[in-house]
Amino acid sequence: MTETVMETMRPRSPNRARHLERWLPLWLTGPAAVFFLVLLGMPLLMTLALSFYTFDYTAGIDKTLTFANYAEVLFDGYFHEIFLRTYAISLVTTVLCVLLGAPEAYILYRMRSPWRSIFLLVTLGPLLISVVVRTLGWVLLIGGNGLLSQLLQGLGLAGSRGVSLMYTHTGVVIAMVHVLVPFMVISVWASLRKVDLSTGDAALSLGAKPFTVMRRVIFPQVLPGVLSGSLIVFALTASYFATPSIIGGRRLKVVATSVYDEYLSTMNWPLGASISIVLLLLNVIIVMSYSRWVERRFRRTLGEG
């Protein structure tokens, strides 16, 4: 392939061809590479360094190296609770997104035009709408005098004080599912598009019932989509900021909001930096090991997994 590129680019002498082949890709990627190495590499390295600095509430940041920040993040029960809460919310959110998003993708896929494209737009569109806006909608819905509370009061299921899901796990999870479920739909949708629906007809012709067709023939083929959607949802939830911050508030701290507080309230940057580094490492480890597992599991049957 490279060879044909080179040949259409007219270096007739082999030396020039080799020269061009070596340097052209570097010139083309150079600007972006330098940009990324400086603007991504430097800040991350500086944060890594910062996470080892000493902090004192009166003296501020001191460049004496210490493991104290990591010791606090890794061994303090306060942070254990925050990390556990974060990953528990992520897990529940992911499971709910699978249960809602995967069937919805399949239903969408079986729709006729124009309904299919209309509802695809309705389902995926919210991804483009600001997270702050979407979360605000949930605040209005589940807050103290929100629609949900009024509905329950009207039905006589709630007292005069109403029901608020603000600052509860339930509230955070509902809003998180709402924010992230389109990612699951799009991911399953992408693998459905590669599925030959006549395999379902083939199974029907062999005597399978519609539910069996779904379970034994269609689902296994879209499983890679479900799995990659799950990874996206889990990883995003684990580091999500806006929704847990607005709905969970200070009472239900997750990792991202505790980083925010360390940086902008307590001003303990070294501690905030070490929380971030731990979060980043956990994220990378989870993503890498999960992808490797998925790839090994599906390399043979479904190609790219």
Binding site: M1, T2, T8, M9, R10, E21, R22, L24, P25, L26, L28, T29, A32, F35, F36, L39, M42, P43, M46, T47, I107, R110, M111, S117, L121, T123, L124, G125, L128, I129, S130, V132, V133, R134, L136, G137, V139, L140, L141, G143, P182, F183, I186, A190, G200, L204, V213, I232, L236, S239, F241, A242, A256, V259, Y263, S276, L279, L280, N283, V284
Partner: protein
């Protein structure tokens, strides 16, 4: 059993209806509240009012934030696209040392939590003395939107029929003419789709921007977030309604032009 094996049953349609209600409910509620005539959060049971939309015009801080977001989105999406086009061409068409590394590097912002990028940029920009400036916001946003532009431009380059370039050359075009007249126009839908996705991603970004924005250079999501921290009143609902309407319009253009599912497969 239904006659047509590829049609949705009643149960499926009921599920679908609930799902759509779940997705749209918060947006509908915002729009309803935005039209309340009252001074506090309530539904417009006694008639609709534009009072809270007029209120937006009295708030230059929100209008400034909107323009900052708009400029930021346009500048960072454009820069990211300009960096992506040559990079995508190199990644798609050459096998060279470091190719895998660069591909991973350019896509890595998808793997790094935005909260981590936020604190990293906060430290970096304040150390080099450009903290809180518009330029620093642009630099940070180019990093987070470039994976989207790169993916869509890359898909466009890979999907291109290489024989059309050979055809152009065989008809007498030199490599530069062939690129300008044949390659680039065919990449254009991908480039435009990438730009739009990058723009909207930048426009909506909160988590990272909350760390790098400053009171004089703040974006609309950050402005709204800080406002919510203080109080929640119908002004937020009317501002949100404006955002929803603009986004839906934008989304329809994007869908018409490129296919929303194709664009969003590149997100996440």
């Amino acid at each position: 059993m239904s006659v047509d094996s590829r049609r949705n049953g009643r149960l499926a349609l009921a599920f679908h209806t609930l799902f759509v209600i779940f997705l749209l409910a918060p947006l509908v509620v915002i729009i309803l509240v935005a039209f309340t005539p009252k001074g506090y959060l309530s539904y417009p049971t006694a008639g609709f009012s534009l009072r809270w939309f007029r209120e937006i015009l009295e708030r230059p801080d929100f209008i400034d934030a909107f323009y900052h977001s708009l400029n930021l989105g346009i500048v960072s999406a454009t820069l990211a696209t300009l960096l992506s086009i040559p990079a995508a061409l190199a990644l798609a068409r050459f096998r060279f040392a470091g190719r895998e590394f660069l591909n991973g590097l350019f896509l890595s912002p998808l793997m790094i939590p935005h909260i981590v990028l936020g604190v990293a940029f906060l430290r970096f920009f304040s150390e080099i003395g450009i903290g809180g400036t518009f330029a620093s916001l642009v630099l940070a946003h180019v990093i987070i939107v470039m994976p989207y532009t790169l993916r869509l431009v890359l898909a466009a380059v890979m999907g291109l029929d290489r024989e059309t370039e050979r055809a152009a050359v065989s008809l007498g075009a030199n490599p530069f003419t062939s690129f300008r007249r044949i390659t680039l126009p065919q990449m254009l839908p991908g480039v435009a789709g990438g730009w739009m996705l990058a723009f909207i991603t930048s426009f909506d970004e909160l988590t990272m921007t909350v760390f790098v924005a400053s009171p004089s250079n703040t974006t609309l999501p950050v402005k709204m977030y800080n406002y919510i921290e203080q109080t929640i009143d119908p002004l937020l609902a009317s501002v949100s309604t404006v955002i929803i309407v603009l986004t839906v319009a934008f989304m329809l253009v994007l869908d018409r032009f490129y296919g929303l599912d194709r664009v969003l497969s590149g997100k996440g």
